[in-house]
């Protein structure tokens, strides 16, 4: 179980990206973080495995506080959190298999990693997961030969190979077309169910969040302004998240206040 409490991030410039964010993710739940650009969605996800260093609060994964760790312990903690990136971030010049097996680097000595001397069990699992994500037979292709959707599948396989206790996905579909986006979301759902782990997805398209998430967290200006199941994400809630309206204020008022027509906002947030 991941529990985030009173998380805050203030950059040295004084810019406050996150403030007093608390949430829990457990079981095999799919939780979506939504919010306008610059609301702190990415910072939130990246603070959890400390690719970005939080300045306040704590992150506890299965009883262990991640915030104070360093060195070897931080590596072990990161190993337990699979991360999926918006730009896939595969090592372009390595083969698909090496990319997938790089998920096991946290378990390997550098010498064995250098010689590509992986555990037999991991190799077996890598073949199996590649099959599961629909990339069977492509293990010897180089990552830079793949399409965006294929790269994301390999990215997911890499995360699964970590044997994570949670998967963090930072806008996994933003660089993909709608059809591929759905395939990737389906895959994440399936992985969550099969591996019995929760998935925390930061997502731009509200439609996808409503369709796939069991719970939605709305961020605005670094603070949690909405939390609940997708059914509760009505137009009022969206107003609060995307336009900063006071809760329960009618849509028309918000429209007059900002002078932005509904259709434009719709386009941006893909309601």
């Amino acid at each position: 179980m991941l529990s985030v409490s009173e998380l805050g991030k203030t950059y040295p410039s004084g810019e406050r990206a996150l403030h007093d964010v608390s949430m829990e993710v457990a079981g095999k739940e799919i939780v979506s973080i939504i919010g306008p650009s610059g609301a702190g969605k990415s910072t939130m996800i990246r603070c959890i495995n400390r690719l970005t260093e939080p300045t306040e609060g704590s992150i506890v994964l299965d009883g262990r506080d991640v915030t104070g760790l360093s060195g070897k312990e931080l590596q072990t903690a990161r190993r337990e959190m699979g991360m999926i990136f918006q730009e896939f971030n595969l090592v372009e010049r390595l083969t698909v298999m090496e990319n997938v097996l790089s998920g096991t680097l946290g378990y390997l000595s550098t010498w064995n990693a250098f010689r590509r001397n992986y555990q037999g069990e991991d190799v077996e699992r890598a073949y199996e997961v590649l099959d599961r994500v629909g990339m069977a037979g492509r293990e010897n292709a180089r990552a830079d030969e793949l399409s965006g959707g294929q790269r994301q599948r390999v990215g997911i396989a890499r995360a699964v190979l970590q044997r994570p206790k949670i998967i963090l996905a930072d806008e996994p579909t933003s660089a993909l077309d709608p059809e591929t986006s759905r395939a990737v979301m389906d895959l994440l759902t399936e992985i969550s169910r099969d591996e019995d782990i929760p998935v925390l997805i930061n997502i731009h398209e509200v439609e996808l969040a409503r369709e796939y998430a069991e719970r939605i967290v709305g961020l605005r200006e670094g603070e949690v302004v909405f939390e609940g199941p997708p059914e509760e994400l009505d137009s009022d809630a969206r107003n609060v998240i995307y336009r900063g309206a006071e809760p329960a204020s009618p849509t028309v008022v918000a429209q007059e206040k900002t002078g932005v027509s509904i259709s434009e906002v719709d386009k941006e947030t893909s309601f």
Binding site: E98, G120, V123, D196
Partner: protein
């Protein structure tokens, strides 16, 4: 499936538990052959050069001795004056050689530009460039010293001969990239070959010409600082003498001065080239 992750899939088919990275060589045998040859080559070289533990040890001692002899560098007034004289000679050689070298290299650049001259002339131009590039300044220096005797004249000649290898080569590449339309326009007015070069070609490459000349001056400074080692004048002569006389404190002072002048030349040349372009 509630109980776990892989059960469902593993039961359907089994997957291999080993994976070999595709090799860049044709196969594993070739790969190991290449590695083996590499190791054999290094071992053979080490034997050929008589690298031994004794020699390494003696060398380490020698190195420590040399460093202690070099520190502190000898910057006494007398040493300073000798460095100054050598340095002035080196920098002067670089300036004179750059001017003469650029003047002589420009026509060679035209000869080596494929789009401006007939094929046989182009071949001759490229040959001059290649020979000039292949021979190191010091090789040219040793020849020049035989021909005209010790002193800065030999150095200037060596540097002038080394110039086309850089200057003509790069200028020729720029000449090949010029806009043919402008050249044709001048030719269409009935201009002769020289007029075409002056009015159609020269204006297009002038900034680059100046940039390359400054760059060459920078390179000539580096070369003129060491060409004295074969007797062709400049601070290099002083450096060699200091080593021959085991005056290592003076050697280190000279080396530091050379580094300073080379860096100064590099900064000046970079600044200057930015101004021109």
């Amino acid at each position: 499936m509630a109980d776990g992750s892989t059960g469902e899939y593993a039961s359907e088919e089994s997957f291999p538990s080993t994976w070999e990275r595709p090799t860049v060589f044709y196969n594993d045998a070739v790969k190991w052959l290449v590695y083996g040859l590499l190791v054999a080559f290094v071992l053979w070289s080490a034997w050929e050069m008589r690298v031994s533990a004794d020699r390494i040890l003696a060398g380490t001692e020698g190195g420590i001795g040399l460093v202690t002899a070099m520190v502190p560098p000898d910057f006494t007034p007398d040493a300073r004056m000798r460095i100054w004289n050598g340095m002035v000679e080196s920098v002067s050689m670089a300036i004179v050689a750059t001017i003469i070298g650029v003047v002589l290299s420009t026509p060679i650049a035209v000869l080596a530009a494929e789009n401006l001259v007939p094929r046989p002339v182009y071949v001759v131009g490229r040959a001059i460039v290649s020979i000039s590039r292949a021979l190191h300044e010091l090789v040219l220096g040793i020849i020049a010293v035989i021909a005209v005797g010790f002193g800065p004249l030999a150095g200037v000649i060596a540097l002038v001969f080394a110039t086309p290898g850089f200057f003509s080569k790069l200028l020729a590449e720029d000449l090949e990239d010029i806009d043919a339309g402008q050249v044709d326009a001048i030719r269409a007015t009935g201009a002769n070959q020289l007029q075409v070069l002056l009015y159609g070609v020269a204006p297009q490459v002038l900034p680059r010409f100046i940039g390359l000349a400054i760059y060459r001056w920078d390179i000539n400074i580096r070369a003129s600082a060491i060409i004295g080692i074969v007797g062709a004048g400049g601070i290099g002569q002083t450096l060699l003498n200091s080593f021959d006389q085991y005056d290592y404190g003076f050697s280190s002072a000279i080396i530091l001065s050379i580094i300073a002048v080379v860096l100064l030349g590099e900064v000046a040349s970079a600044w200057w080239r930015r101004r021109v372009q």
